[in-house]
Symmetry: C2
Subunit: 120 residues, 2 copies
DNA sequence: ACACTCCATCGACGTTTGTCAATATTCGGA
DNA sequence: TCCGAATATTGACAAACGTCGATGGAGTGT
């Protein structure tokens, strides 16, 4: 398999903080990062994020998510709550329905933290 | 700041593939991604990766990692094994010492998968 | 050969996690 | 006002996880 060239955008605005490995990450930041990664580190939750992102208007209600992931309604609600608390999704209720939507920069910010680490 | 081009070595294992949310991620890919994220989703393991990356020559032996993370030697070895099995670290033994090093593109690849997701 | 150091594995433990059924809550319609 | 539908919460349980102490194996130096 060949090699390709990939454009790398220099982070003029480096997410928020300092590069991840210029110095050793401190325990507090490690804890924070781990929490977010943990929220994403589940196949069901990854699929939920993916489905929501790919949905009409970028949002989906719980009832639309149950069948695709093949789990019970309480379990789906549970996963959505975890994703919300980690800052990846937002919920807006309209009538009896709860619509979940991606938080715009959330995944990108997480991605940048890893990327900076990866660059060394 | 300008943009540069970074050579990316295509791993013989596919793993690169299609954007994460152009279509709904399938269960198999979600499982794979989740495994890697799970390996990183622990504060101790994040610190280990960070310390190894920031170490002299990009590598560190177990004895140098124990004190910084403040855990027992077996626990540190356990975490390092998990990071190895997930493809983030490699081990090379020299004498009695075991030196761990970052796998060059591993974090970047993971980062890209999230980034693609983030772009929508 | 011996002792010592570095590291991995094993066995055990308390905690966290993912899942479900049952129940509660909230809202819209008849 | 009562009923049904969409979600959230609770309680329970098995599986996975993070940690440790004890032990084992492999190198090094004496």
């Amino acid at each position: 398999m060949s090699t390709t060239l990939l454009p790398v955008i220099q982070p003029e605005a480096v997410a928020c903080c300092t590069p991840l490995t210029s110095e050793t990450i401190d325990a507090e930041r490690a804890d924070d990062l781990a929490k977010k990664l943990k929220a994403l580190a589940d196949p069901t939750r990854l699929r939920l994020v993916s489905i929501v992102a790919a949905s009409e208007g970028g949002e989906a209600c719980v009832c639309d998510l149950i069948e695709p992931v093949g789990l019970s309604q309480p379990t789906v609600s549970h996963h959505l709550k975890i994703l919300m608390e980690a800052g990846f999704l937002t919920r807006s209720k309209r009538g009896t329905w709860a619509y979940y939507k991606l938080v715009p920069g959330a995944l990108g910010q997480l991605s940048q933290l890893l990327d900076v680490t990866a660059s060394r």
